[in-house]
């Protein structure tokens, strides 16, 4: 530089760089809380909370006046009553009219009895000014709600009696030895749901029921905008609310319970904390409103990407559930009543105060449609819930393998190089993923031709080694008249409209100005599905699968980073009515597109970020944009468990953490935990360093490889678990209480968890490796360390200090776990590999297990093309028998022919007290002796049967002596 450079003379004083130091180092991840509403900032939530407060105040003043009532009986301060003589039974439905004491707008209450004991409560205006949104059930319930099984009229008993100043109506019915009853009290109105004469759930017990009927907008300007009824502004966005107030809320009380779970998605505690009046709880209700929350905070009731309004209450005696079928914004307050020991001590009838969880549910629009599910066992509850929303169907088998993702693998060569590296390092993987950068300018269904000149060749290369490709396809469609997807969508008028319904709604997302498809329009749904067909999506093959991201929807310049509520959908509905199912409808369209792109249809795989009850039918979800921190590693467990509790089984968290660079120890621990998520994917932000398992080098590489290999060995067990879940609706990743329902010490446990009913995983989530980990072994059963076979006699508590290569995984005595021990590059290449059966003997010397297999990709299993075995170890005999579902069909015969060589190559029995010396195999008419060696390499209680060579599809028995 020339010294005599031109210079300008300035008269300004020389500033010396003030006020900068204090601004430094604010770079830690933090959500911008002010971008998102609090209950106080949502007018309807504010109104209902205030209403509840007023009721409580009024009730308390009644109590202080010496009334005999206390909170154990419904509040008499409620302005709502059931109209005298309006209650009557119509078949399986009890009908009543509810009136507000001043506004007198009649509300219709229907209490519908389902055959399995579930009670559905529908409450809406008898004659609304204009219809209220009631389509959510069509998109959420099994067969659109048309095939619910109702209680038969003759199983229902109905009686009414006058009790004090009120009339009480009771409906009783019995199902499989369980007695259910609903007691409807007219004044003040409340509904008690009883099981074996005990009230378990009560509606409007506290009198918080408040229903805003539709009304004409008052002319007077001063009422305009009062309490945000007709217009509401948040930051720079104004919600025009053309329909005025239409929200409703009610309290639901779980009587005799102290723990409630579910209503994901939040980063909150597993056992849901209180949200009012508890300094250890949260200050805000749990919010359900699908949002893209950048750098979300842990331990918070803030809304996240998905919403499932299903809550489960559990005590040592029973497990019950409530499903609040509403897709509008919903807030849920949780408070607890502690039991009064004094009254229970004296057994004061009627006034004995049991512990209870009070919940207050508040929704912005639609109708009140609630299902109460009686349990009483966990499996009963999931049967009941599954009857409503279905379970997770059997996934495509590869989807249970390891998914390698990064934003972004930059080009075709990069993808294939990563794949080769996996092979080079003997790391099996099933799927490699492409994030948004593979597209031509974020125009989905297109490819960046510079970096991906031949996507089909790339996919063929991947397929050759048994791998699949997943590409991201987001719901924002770039506004570009030269882009065929936009052009078609626009011409067919498939986009969501602005509030005046005059033009397409426009917002900003990755590609800039974009439009969003209106999935409420079934034609638009179908069109979207068609975009995934091979003739439409250039460069796709049947080995390409899809990831739907940003489908809350995420809109960069929208209120709370999402779409405005007053936009217009098909049928004139406002977005507010259906926001929480929007992402699911997109997920469904994708699922249908992939399913129908080949004939016969094959099972799709679609990952979605947004979800609702029912999303489990369409694929997997993950916990969104987490961070590479130990806290996030820890929180991932409770988030995955909450999703499983709510029926969203196929879920996982990004292994490694999306934002930031994990240190090798954290990454290693994350792999060790990640293999136990139902959905196992590693992912990373574009600004992070590469972190594929080999990058960190040894010893991390070997440890991570070992973890991934463990996932692959266990795939037969995982697949069997998914099969079970598809039939029962039971969670796959289960909180401890679910398997040990009477062990109150486990009710709030959110570190240890169960995979199925046999495996307990205790993740290491602390950077300090020397810190001992407490493990509680529940029940009176043996537990075996899965890696060393060391046994622990429960109930007991132990402390473990483990090094980085070790993990704490225990198998419950009495379990039989099938594995495949041969290391292949991908699950597809394990198809015909033999099985090893691990028998973990229980205290009484027995064990049971299951093995399910099918072709892993078609729907032929629906025609019986599967092998499902009940494995039983009892009286020193291990036997394999067909399950009850097994049927002989031609599809089955074809499948069995394919599997005719697949055998059991090894049986490992762990936990025998005395060693065995002989093993005799009986398979059909053939009886033979086989080699057996006991006192194996790991523990003296281990016996290995060398190649019994029994076929997996056959009945057989191995007798030991």
């Amino acid at each position: 530089m020339n010294l005599k450079s031109p210079f300008r003379t300035r008269t300004t004083a020389l500033f010396y760089f003030a006020a900068t130091a204090s601004l430094c180092l604010q770079g830690v991840l933090a959500v911008k809380k002010e971008d998102f509403k609090t209950c106080e900032q949502a007018a309807f939530c504010r109104r209902h909370r205030a209403f509840a407060d007023a009721i409580v105040q009024a009730s308390q003043s009644t109590i202080s006046k010496g009334s005999s009532s206390n909170l154990a009986v419904p509040s008499s301060a409620s302005p709502y009553i059931i109209t005298s003589k309006s209650v009557h039974l119509e078949g399986h439905t009890l009908v009543a009219t509810i009136l507000h004491d001043t506004d007198k707008v009649p509300l219709k209450l229907e209490v519908i009895f389902l055959a399995d004991g579930t009670v559905r409560i529908r409450l809406q205006e008898e004659n609304p000014l204009i219809p209220r949104f009631d389509e959510t059930q069509k998109h959420v319930l099994r067969d659109e709600g048309n095939t619910l099984e109702y209680a038969s009229a003759d199983s229902i008993g109905y009686s009414s009696e006058t009790a004090g100043q009120s009339v009480v109506h009771t409906v009783c019915y019995t199902k499989e030895g369980n007695n259910f009853a609903v007691r409807l009290t007219e004044f003040p109105w409340s509904l008690a749901y009883m099981q074996d004469n005990k009230v378990v759930i009560e509606i409007n017990h506290n009198g918080f029921f408040n229903f805003e009927h539709l009304r004409t907008k008052p002319d007077t300007s001063e009422t305009n905008g009062v309490e945000g009824e007709w217009e509401e502004t948040f930051r720079s966005w104004t919600d025009s609310k053309p329909r005025g107030p239409e929200s409703f809320g009610v309290d639901i009380r779980f009587n005799g319970y102290d723990h409630v779970y579910g209503i994901p998605e939040h980063s909150a505690s597993l056992s849901l904390k209180n949200t009012r009046g508890d300094k250890d709880g949260y200050g805000e209700p749990y919010r359900l409103w699908n949002l893209d929350v950048f750098e979300y905070e842990l331990d918070s009731p803030m809304a996240l990407y998905g919403s499932i309004p299903f809550m489960v209450a559990h005590n040592p005696n029973s497990t019950v559930g409530v499903f609040w079928l509403n897709a509008a914004e919903t807030w849920v307050d949780v408070t607890r009543e502690k039991s009064s020991t004094l009254s229970s001590l004296f057994r004061l009838s009627g006034s004995s105060k049991e512990q209870a969880v009070n919940t207050h549910w508040i929704s912005e629009s639609g109708i009140m449609d609630v299902f109460l599910m009686p349990g009483p066992s966990v499996s009963d509850l999931y049967k009941q819930y599954t009857a409503l929303v279905e379970s997770t169907p059997l996934p495509r088998e590869f989807a249970l393998g390891y998914h390698q993702c990064r934003w972004n693998y930059i080009d075709q060569d990069d993808v294939l190089a990563v794949s080769d590296k996996m092979h080079e390092h003997n790391i099996p993987y099933d799927v490699i993923w492409l994030d948004i950068e593979y597209t031509d300018g974020k125009r989905y269904f297109t490819w960046d031709s510079n970096n991906f000149p031949d996507p089909v060749a790339m996919q063929k290369q991947l397929s050759h080694d048994g791998h699949k490709l997943v590409v991201v396809i987001d719901p924002h469609i770039k506004h570009d008249s030269a882009y065929y997807v936009w052009k078609e969508g626009n011409e067919k008028e498939y986009f969501i409209k602005n509030k005046a319904k005059t033009d397409n709604y426009q917002g900003w997302c990755w590609p800039g100005e974009s439009n969003w498809v209106d999935y409420l329009d079934s034609n638009a749904m179908e069109w979207t599905s068609g975009l995934y067909h091979l003739d439409k999506f250039n460069g796709s093959t049947t080995d390409l699968f899809v990831w739907n991201d940003m489908n809350e929807p995420s809109i960069f310049n929208g209120p709370e980073i999402t779409i405005e509520r007053d936009l217009k959908h098909y049928g004139g509905w406002e977005h507010r009515d259906l926001h929480n199912i929007y992402g699911m409808l997109y997920h469904k369209a994708t699922y249908n597109g992939l399913r129908t792109r080949e004939s016969p249809n094959k099972r799709p795989f679609v990952l979605s970020r947004a979800y609702f009850a029912g999303s489990q039918r369409y694929g997997a979800i993950w916990t969104g944009d987490n961070a590479a921190s130990w806290d996030h590693l820890h929180a991932s467990v409770r988030m995955v468990l909450s999703n499983n509790i709510a029926g969203m089984h196929f879920s996982g968290a990004d292994v490694g953490g999306f934002f930031g660079n994990p240190e090798p120890e954290l990454l290693t621990r994350w792999y060790q935990l990640g293999i136990w998520y139902p959905f196992f994917r590693a992912h990373a932000h574009i600004d992070t360093k590469r972190r594929e398992p080999w990058v960190a080098g040894e010893p991390y590489l070997s440890i991570m490889r070992e973890a991934i290999l463990e996932r692959y060995r266990m795939l037969p067990h995982w697949y069997t678990l998914f099969r079970e879940t598809s039939l029962t609706g039971m969670p796959i990743a289960r909180p401890m209480w679910m398997e040990f329902p009477k062990d109150t010490g486990l009710f709030a446990e959110e570190r240890a968890f169960m995979v199925g009913s046999s495996i307990m995983v205790v993740p290491s989530t602390d950077p300090d490796i020397s810190k001992p980990i407490d493990v509680a072994f529940p029940s009176k059963e043996n537990w075996y360390d899965m890696h060393t076979y060391t046994s622990y006699f429960a109930p007991t508590k132990r402390q473990f200090t483990i090094d980085l290569a070790q993990t704490l995984v225990f198998v419950r005595g009495g379990s039989i776990i099938p594995t495949r021990e041969r290391q292949r590059r991908a699950s597809a290449l394990m198809k015909y590999d033999p099985f090893t059966l691990y028998v973990y003997v229980s205290r009484d010397g027995t064990a049971t297990g299951k093995l399910y297999l099918d072709d892993g990709e078609t729907y032929d299993y629906e025609e019986g093309a599967f092998i499902e075995r009940e494995l039983l170890f009892v009286d020193s005999r291990l036997s394999s028998r067909p399950s009850a579902h097994t049927v002989e069909t031609s599809a089955q015969r074809i499948f069995l022919e394919k599997m005719k060589k697949v055998r059991v190559e090894r049986v490992v029995i762990v936990g025998l007290r005395s060693p065995l010396t002989r093993a005799t195999v009986t398979e059909g008419d053939v009886v033979r002796e086989i080699e057996l060696s006991c006192g194996g390499s790991k523990a003296s209680s281990e016996c290995v049967v060398r190649d019994p060579a029994v076929l997996v599809s056959n009945d057989w028995e191995i007798a030991f002596s």
Binding site: F7, L14, F17, C24, R822, R946
Partner: protein
């Protein structure tokens, strides 16, 4: 072959039946012929695992159940995860495959062209004939390329040899020149000092003479003024770098932000920046000019600048005074600019919408934070440096000198001039020329010193085997890739040049060869322009053998860490190989034994033992 095994073979031949043949095929499936003799029953009728850990019944060889810890009982099946499957590949070169790939439904033709790895299903027809001939064709082509490449490499080595000789000679010559010049400088300095002393004496004699007073002023103050000027200069360098950093940050926001998001804060920041650029366009140009410099290069340039300045500014009080004024003025401007630019960015970082995920803006946010840190420590360093050099004292001295110089100026009258004797003015002239001569010689000496040390450095550095990189050092090769042109200068530096505006980003200067300087086919360039939201840019270039030096592709596998594929003779074998050897080497490259790293060593150890 031992007598005993010959006997055994003979006996076997007698009993040869179809079944025995099949049995033999079965037990020898996947066995490397070099190890075939182990796959016969021993005296006890057993098979001994190759690691000698177990004796198992011979029938358990290749029975699809893993018995041996080393996997040696199952070379032909997938039962052991650590075994190796041998495929004969008749018509091609034998292959060795990890047995985990046996019967997995995939034809691993890259290793087993005969398809024998999928013997159970026989889904893979033998393709060795076609693949063998294709391979031979490619091997020949490869050999041709290698031959040409090798020749080119030999040429480079020959050139390097000559070059080294020439450079060594040049160094010797320069070394002697250096000695001469040093002596000259000493003489000149001596003469200068003598004259200065004379002057001083003369000055004492005629204190009142203007020139002499001036000279006295100079003698008394010039050293301190030069010292002060130097301190200001150092501060200037630092502040210019700070301003450049901020300018580049804003420029990068302007170039890379997503215009479609219409973020108000971004628009406001860029408007303010545009005004700044309009007012002083040269600042952005200057910042751009040095954007690809690394720290070392920047320091070198600054030192050179300082030396030049010294030569012209520190000759006289007048020149030095002017320089100090200019420096002070520029410092003031720099501080104003920095405050203003920082203000723009600070406002941007508090105002921009994080949810837009605009990576360019986020990068500036992170960059600003890093800048604050760096600036804080730079300012502290400057302050410390200035303090230890007693800047306050120097400043007072300079003010004194300025004041006296001012007085001189006002009293500069002809009367004074007349008073000066002719002798004095002659002496002054002599002194001036002695000084000029001394400065000139001194700067030649510096230059020569530089040249010598550069030469020495070049001759002492690692230039690859036989100096193969010497002749090509500094030669630049570029590749057009989409938005950018990449330029790699061998053993020197690498840059990314924007096609839009010609701006350069430094991808680093040469930092060594690959694999801790063991792999001479890989060049590492490091410490390039810092990414605001990431590391300093760097690039690793890997050569494959070819005659022509070329950049084949450049990619950015992670933020700001680039990777280039190049061809060139540097990766070619040294001598031209015979056909067989070439083939072997080539096969080694292309058909690796596919097995795990942990098993590999085991297998090799066993192999060594055999």
């Amino acid at each position: 072959m031992s007598l005993r095994s010959a006997l055994t073979l003979g006996l076997l031949a007698i009993h040869f039946s179809h079944a025995a043949q099949a049995q033999k095929e079965h037990t020898l499936r996947g066995v490397d012929p070099a190890r075939a003799h182990h796959y016969q029953p021993n005296a006890q009728g057993n098979f001994q695992c190759l690691d000698k850990s177990l004796d198992i019944p011979f029938a358990q060889v290749n029975d699809d159940y893993c018995d041996c810890p080393d996997g040696s009982d199952e070379p032909g099946t997938s039962a052991c995860n650590n075994a190796t499957f041998y495929c004969a590949n008749r018509g091609h070169i034998p292959g060795r495959l990890s047995s985990t790939r046996v019967n997995d439904g995939v034809c691993d033709y890259d290793v087993c062209c005969d398809g024998s790895d999928e013997w159970e299903s026989s889904i893979c027809p033998d393709r060795c004939a076609e693949m063998g001939s294709e391979h031979r064709r490619k091997a020949m082509e490869m050999e041709r390329v290698q031959r040409a490449g090798s020749q080119k490499r030999m040429e480079l080595i020959r050139e390097a040899k000559e070059l080294r000789q020439a450079k060594t000679k040049e160094l010797a010559q320069k070394d002697s020149e250096l000695a001469e010049l040093t002596a000259k400088v000493e003489n000149a300095e001596k003469r200068k000092l003598e004259l200065e002393e004379k002057q001083r004496v003369a000055n004492d004699a005629s204190e009142k003479s203007h020139e002499l007073r001036k000279q006295k002023l100079q003698d008394e103050y010039l050293g301190d003024m030069a010292g002060y000027r130097k301190l200001l200069g150092a501060e200037l360098h630092q502040l210019r770098a700070h301003r450049d950093t901020l300018v580049l940050m804003l420029r990068s926001v302007r170039e890379s932000h997503n215009k479609e998001y219409n973020d108000g804060a971004v628009i406001e920041a860029l408007d303010a920046y545009a005004k700044f650029v309009d007012a002083s366009p040269y600042i952005e140009q200057a910042a751009m000019e040095y954007a690809d410099e690394d720290d070392r290069a920047r320091r070198e340039r600054q030192q050179q600048m300082d030396r030049d300045n010294e030569a012209q500014d520190d000759i006289s009080v007048d020149a030095c005074k002017t320089a100090i004024e200019i420096f002070e003025n520029e410092l003031e401007t720099l501080n104003d600019d920095i405050n203003m630019l920082f203000g723009i960015l600070d406002k941007l970082r508090t105002g921009y919408d994080k949810n837009y995920h605009d990576l360019a803006v986020k990068a500036a946010d992170v960059g600003l934070r890093e800048f604050e840190e760096a600036r804080k420590s730079d300012l502290a360093e400057i302050a410390e440096h200035q303090e230890s050099n007693k800047i306050d004292t120097l400043r007072l001295r300079v003010q004194e000198a300025m004041a006296k110089h001012g007085e001189l100026g006002t009293s500069n009258s002809s009367e004074d001039h007349d008073e000066n004797g002719g002798n004095d003015s002659q002496l002054a002239e002599q002194l001036a020329s002695a000084r000029t001569e001394f400065w000139d010689l001194q700067s030649s000496l510096t230059r020569l010193n530089n040249e010598v040390s550069q030469l020495r450095e070049l001759l002492e550095r690692d230039l690859g085997p036989d100096d193969m990189y010497l002749a090509a050092k500094g030669a630049c090769y570029s590749l057009d890739a989409g938005e950018y042109t990449y330029e790699l200068c061998l053993l020197d530096r690498a840059s990314q040049i924007s096609k839009k505006d010609g701006s350069r980003q430094g991808l680093g200067s040469f930092d060594g060869f690959g694999d801790d300087s063991l792999d001479y086919t890989v060049l590492r360039f490091a410490h390039g322009t810092k990414c605001w939201n990431g590391p300093e840019r760097s690039i690793t270039a890997s050569f494959t053998c070819a005659e022509e030096i070329k950049v084949v592709s450049v990619s950015e596998p992670e933020k700001c860490e680039y990777s280039a594929k190049m061809t060139g003779p540097f990766a070619c074998p040294l001598a031209v190989l015979g056909e067989d050897e070439a083939q072997k080497e080539h096969v080694g490259d292309r058909v690796p034994v596919v097995d795990g790293p942990h098993q590999h060593s085991d297998a090799e150890r066993i192999h060594d033992e055999l």
